[in-house]
Amino acid sequence: MSIDAIPIHVINPLPTEPGLTGNALPLLREISEMLRRLLETGETAAIDLSALPLTPIDLDWLREKLGEGEIAVTLQANGESTLNETACPGVWWVTHHNENGAVTSQFIEVSFVPELVKAHPQDVTVGWEHLELLISDL
């Protein structure tokens, strides 16, 4: 009997691709749990990707699994930031760059709208005053 004939079910197979550590897979379950909480209680959550032992290849793997969504937000503030919805609505991939283009921090945010996209009431007030002034000058 050849060894191939023995049925083997591999649980948690060793990562085959070089650089893949297997540390990214558990994150998918964590994100799934976060989505459940978002739907049930509206509670938002985030995962700090730079705080975890992930290789660039792990990050690529995770990114590929989560896929591309419909919305991509670009923020120009002290370097570019991208807030991209993944193929799972409510899961956002947030990357902050500095002026040199280097990644300074990276998060997965689970929320209906990412925090940074919302306008601050104080800024809205300033904008409103500006608009009122503009109208009164016309």
């Binding site: 550590t21 995962i47 705080a51 032992p53 660039p56 280097a102 921090s105 925090e115 601050h120 800024d123």
Partner: protein, 359 residues
């Protein structure tokens, strides 16, 4: 300029989102929960600026370079502007009598409230004659300035632990700030030089909460020095898999494997290089292919050779074979075993050689 910090930032053209983004990154670097950025931004936006006196002693100005030479204008630099830096010999325009006068005035006006930053060690030999400013020894100046300080920040390994001036045979009798001052809260920010954002983080914490951050047993902020370089190293998975570079130009080195056997002091060095990186997030020593020197630990200069391995995993050959079969579980087991070795090596601050482990 006594208004809330956010007004000052807005005046300098920094939008709220820019500030929020910065705080999110800072919170990440300080190992705070990812959602803490917003809370921090709100508290810091309303903070008022404290008076800071910076005394350089027996030092090379590398710490000042590290803080001030970041490409400008960064928010980090701006937050640094938000403090009232009332005395810094290298940066201030005033010199001689005027400079000393400014320091005395700031010390008088803000008695009990100012933050004192010290870089460089303090020589005690020859009655402190090795390093003097305005005809007074560093020891005298430090004692006087510490008297009215709310807290002291020891910037860099020299001020924190004595650093290179204290290296054997310590010709000047150099000591750290905490060797002299015993009755004030002292934050050590070691590193040769220290990471600029750690300084900003401590300032941000002071501005946000009005207190100093939580410190470890060596007086270092836990948020930046709580974990070792090794714990947060992106090459750590290779250590767990038993994949090591044996020389600086072998296949392992080219594949970016663990530099442990080439003398990396990552496992016994507490610092944040692995997460904050250097030069505006460009890279850091291990990413550039060189092991960690351990510059943020006491007496790193005398710790027994930069290229000597701390210890070797038990029978590396066997380890690789086993790891290939059983994978991560074994990796974790060995890593735990090494953690034990790591802490004992750390406690004794001695290098463990291959011969030691074979006994």
């Amino acid at each position: 300029m006594q208004g809330p910090l956010i007004d000052n930032l807005v005046r300098q053209g920094v939008s709220r989102r820019t500030f929020l983004k910065y705080c999110a990154t800072l919170a990440s670097m300080m190992a705070l929960p990812p959602t803490a950025g917003r809370a921090m931004a709100e508290a810091m936006a309303a903070a008022r600026r404290p008076s800071v006196i910076w005394l350089p002693f027996q030092e090379c100005t590398g710490c000042t370079e590290s803080i001030t030479r970041s490409h400008s204008p960064t928010i980090e630099g701006m937050i640094f502007d938000m403090i009232s830096l009332d005395y810094q010999e290298t940066l201030m325009a005033a010199a001689g009598f005027q400079a000393e006068e400014a320091r005395h005035q700031a010390m008088k006006e803000n008695a009990g409230k100012y933050l004192l930053i010290v870089d460089g060690s303090i020589p005690l030999g020859q009655d402190g004659a090795f390093s003097c400013t305005a005809g007074r020894s560093n020891l005298e100046t430090l004692k006087e300035a510490a008297e009215g300080a709310a807290a002291i920040v020891a910037m860099g390994s020299c001020a924190s632990f004595g650093g290179i001036p204290k290296a054997n045979p310590n010709p000047t009798g150099a000591v750290s700030v905490s060797d002299i001052i015993k009755d004030k809260p002292i934050v050590n920010i070691p590193g040769c030089p220290p990471i600029p954002v750690v300084m900003t983080g401590v300032l941000a914490h002071y501005l946000t909460f009005g207190t100093l951050p939580e410190l470890d047993e060596k007086g270092r902020p836990k948020s930046f020095y709580g974990e070792t370089i090794h714990d947060r190293c992106y090459r750590r998975p290779f250590y767990d898999q038993g994949k090591f570079a044996k020389t600086f130009d072998d296949e392992g080195a080219r594949n970016g494997w663990c530099l442990f056997e080439l003398g990396c002091k990552g496992p016994v060095t507490h610092n944040a290089c692995a997460t904050t990186k250097w030069n505006g997030g460009t890279s850091w020593p291990v990413e550039s292919g060189h092991g960690c020197l351990g510059c943020s630990e006491p007496d790193f200069w005398d710790a027994g050779g930069f290229y000597k391995a701390l210890s070797m995993p038990a029978d590396p050959l066997k380890f690789v074979a086993v790891a290939a079969v059983a994978g991560a579980a074994v990796g974790v087991g060995v890593s735990l075993a090494n953690r034990g070795k790591k802490s004992s090596a750390k406690a004794a601050h001695e290098t463990t050689t291959l011969a030691d482990l074979e006994k």
